[in-house]
């Protein structure tokens, strides 16, 4: 099989898929647009989590801390200092990264691992939520509203969903690309080495502490950037959907279900979860609680039967098939 041939196919595939995705808004109603925006958005956040949790193996149960930091940073800068939300987005990322480096420094310096690290992150997000609640009680008891400016690319506000669709798609594509970029390079190999075996990594000359911090910084930066997108999409923020444990869970669920430590796992997971939650809600939402029962049950079964996520399951099957072939 010639390489050139393969390349042509790849390019063709990308063109077709890209064209399909870029053209999709022409065919979709707003509901489906929202549905896809949520998939892209959570795939983006999932990818951000994936770099730290899936590749570097540091299971964060409190990514809402970074997300909420992003949500609040750009919004408050916009409202109180008139900072443009696009610049705010960058600053939000930096703020998230700063927080990530801070908590990462403490956690990794004192060797928090596994469930302990997960719980520390959970507590961090909860602490930030409480601070937000207390701070907002006297100023914005029911949330902060970003002033409307109509359709404006400059102000990152659109009356229609189509621009959000493209922005979220670009963000996701960027995150997936970044993940792939990292995966095949030294830094990605180092992350995986740390995930698999810290002392062996250290013995091979990897500054484990430093690389964990790098993973944390990238992950926190992206997650906080996602926070700004969230603010600008809803134009209204409050503490629960910024710092709540629900957001932390939603962020990590995609990569876990889809396959942590794989490039497309977060996208696959986000797609499946959004689809599942929308369909169960649409068909069973009228019966109080039934849709979440089913959602919970599906989650339980996926974890029992696909412990490495869907991508992991696919890879395993693929491996078995190819192995079977080489044997015969």
């Amino acid at each position: 099989m010639s390489n050139i041939h393969q390349k042509t196919w790849n390019i063709l595939l990308i063109v077709v898929l890209g064209g399909l995705i870029l053209g999709l808004p022409l065919f979709l109603g707003k509901y489906y647009l929202h549905f896809f925006i949520m998939i892209f958005f959570f795939a983006f956040l999932g990818s951000a989590w994936n770099i730290l949790g899936g590749y570097a193996g540091q299971f964060s149960f409190g990514h809402a801390a970074f997300f909420g930091t992003g949500v609040f940073t750009s919004t408050l800068l916009q409202i109180h200092a008139g900072v443009n939300p696009w610049i705010g987005m960058l600053l939000a990322g930096i703020a998230g990264m700063g927080l990530g480096l801070f908590i990462g420094f403490l956690s990794f310096r004192y060797g928090l691992r596994g469930p302990y690290f997960a719980l520390a992150m959970l507590a961090l997000a909860e602490m930030l939520k409480l601070i937000a609640i207390e701070w907002m009680t006297s100023r914005y008891p029911l949330g902060i509203t970003i002033p409307l400016r109509g359709d404006s690319l400059l102000y990152f506000q659109f009356r229609d969903k189509v621009p959000y669709y493209y922005i979220s798609f670009l963000m996701m594509a960027g995150a997936l690309f970044l993940t792939r970029f990292i995966e095949v390079r030294k830094i990605g190999s180092y992350f995986k080495a740390i995930r698999e075996n810290e002392s062996a990594a250290e013995a091979l000359g990897i500054n484990v502490f430093r690389y964990k911090l790098i993973a944390m910084a990238i992950s926190a930066f992206l997650t906080a950037v996602g926070g700004t997108f969230y603010s600008q999409y809803y134009l209204n923020i409050e503490e629960e959907s910024a710092f709540g444990a629900g957001i932390s869970i939603e962020i990590l669920m995609g990569p876990i279900i889809g396959g942590a430590g794989t490039v497309f796992g977060p996208l696959l997971g986000a797609g499946i979860l959004e689809f599942l939650s929308e369909t169960t809600r649409n068909f069973l939402g009228g019966y109080s609680g039934v849709h979440l029962m089913i959602y919970g049950a599906v989650l339980v079964f996926v974890i029992i039967f696909l412990p490495h996520g869907i991508m992991g399951g696919l890879q395993e099957t693929f491996r078995k098939i190819t192995k079977g072939q080489t044997k015969t």
Binding site: L26, F27, L28, G29, K30, Y31, L33, H34, F35, M38, L130, I133, E134, T137, S138, P141, L142, G143, T145, L148, R159, D160, V162, Y234, L235, N236, I237, E238, E240, S241, G246, E278, R281, N282, G285, G286, S288, G289, H291, L292
Partner: protein, 423 residues
């Protein structure tokens, strides 16, 4: 129906013209037209959406609101549907918001896509912030069933309306009624201590601070607590220690249950009593049912139905006959009223075109509702000008309105008897 279908299609196309792409029209219309055709095949039916949290910690309130929407619609359908539209029946499509803005947005989009001509929701203001924005974008009227945030109506939205009295109204009238009680029973009341939950409680607290002095009160302190706090003894000890003449209490049903028990345990008995303001527990029949003796004589300045209205009483009776899952509570009054407003507007507009429906709602002057006060009329922001809070008191295991006189069905018992005297 026919006209509606066309206009919906036309609307979608207009929204997309900015794409400046020829030939898009047919493509864009087809997936949207498909369900519309299906709807067309069904008998005349007007769809309205109900977005409420029917799962999670506030599922109780969400369910009571949704039931009220259903009740109003069922009654109208039983009475022959929308007469001006040839007896068209209305159908309520319920979507769970799970209390999340993200889910609320999806719900609103889906309901509008499915052809809902009006939305009703959402209880939690952050969710309503999002759903009203969706409705505004699509040009579909959105009635707020319950949602206290001022911001909901401060964004210049044309399609958002609220029948419920706002936080200012409830806070001001609570102060006013307190002053009236003080004068009538000749008990000097000067100082107020406020115990409030964060979030909406903080809003009410700030409004109380604004209006207290107008009625001769001084706020000597406030204590706040968080949602889902497992124990509230220290907070209540704190407020007790402030020795105010009156304790004004703001919160939800769940924390209210804990507070009432703790007030009793600590024998908190200020001379002007413990008075709720916009309190989700104090004028809630469910609380009365659950707390029994301890509920007796509790007061609350809150929205409530008009006890003098036979219609209101019959609605409640029917509600409780029909729904045993969650019984009638004050929230349901405004969910019911909001639905009536939509029905009335449909009747007057004679069309389900959302734009025309919106104009009809804006021109509402609706007398046959179940709340106290004058006819429902909206100001330019969409707020019901004539909404008003009343003062309720639990008397003999029933919630009675006691002030103002013209909307009351009992005399106030004041000063509030001590906890030990409750039977």
């Amino acid at each position: 129906m026919e006209s509606k279908k066309k206009s919906r299609k036309g609307y979608e196309i207009n929204r997309r013209t900015f794409l400046k792409m020829a030939g898009v029209t047919g493509l864009a219309a087809s997936p949207i037209a498909f369900p519309a055709v299906l709807r067309g095949a069904a008998p005349k039916e007007i769809l309205i959406g109900s977005i409420h949290p029917i799962t999670g910690p506030v599922a109780y309130d969400g369910t009571s609101l949704d039931q009220a929407v259903h009740l109003a619609v069922d009654q109208k359908n039983a009475a022959g549907g929308i007469k001006s539209m040839g007896g068209a029946k209305i159908k309520v499509a319920l979507m769970d918001s799970e209390g999340k803005p993200k889910v609320g947005e999806a719900a609103a989009e889906k309901l509008i896509r499915d052809g809902c001509v009006a939305l009703l929701g959402c209880y939690q203001s952050p969710v309503a912030m999002v759903t009203t924005a969706v409705a505004e974008r699509h040009g579909v009227p959105h009635l707020i069933t319950v949602g206290v945030a001022d911001e909901l109506l401060e964004r210049g939205f044309k399609y958002t309306f609220r029948t419920q009295p706002d936080a200012s109204n409830m806070a001001e009238l609570t102060c006013k009624y307190l002053r009236q009680l003080s004068d009538k029973f000749n008990i000097a009341l000067k100082t107020i201590a406020v115990l409030h939950i964060s979030g909406f409680g903080a809003v009410v607290n700030s409004k109380l601070a604004k209006f207290a002095s107008r009625y001769g009160f001084e706020i000597i302190g406030s204590v706040s607590y968080g949602i889902g706090t497992p124990d509230i003894t220290t907070e209540i000890s704190k407020i007790k220690g402030m020795n105010g003449d009156v304790i004004v209490d703001v919160g939800y049903l769940s924390d209210g249950i804990l507070k009432i028990r703790t007030y009793n345990d600590l024998k908190v008995e200020p001379k002007g009593g413990i008075i709720g303001c916009a309190n989700g527990a104090f004028s809630n029949p469910s609380m009365v049912k659950e707390m029994g003796r301890l509920a007796e004589f509790l007061m609350d300045g809150n929205y409530w139905h008009n006890p003098r209205s036979a219609f209101a009483r019959s609605v409640i009776e029917e509600y409780n006959k029909k729904y045993t899952r969650v019984i009638f509570q004050s929230h349901a009054v405004h969910a019911y009223n909001a639905t009536l407003v939509v029905i009335d507007a449909l009747e007057r507009a004679g069309t389900s075109d959302p734009g025309k429906l919106r104009d009809a709602i804006a021109r509402t002057s609706f007398k046959d509702h179940i709340a106290p006060g004058g006819p429902i009329e909206f100001d330019t922001t969409g707020q019901n000008k004539n909404a008003m809070a009343t003062l309720q008191q639990v008397q003999k295991r029933e919630i009675k309105a006691i002030l103002p006189d013209e909307f009351s069905d009992a005399k106030p018992v004041f000063p509030i008897p001590p906890w030990s005297a409750k039977a």
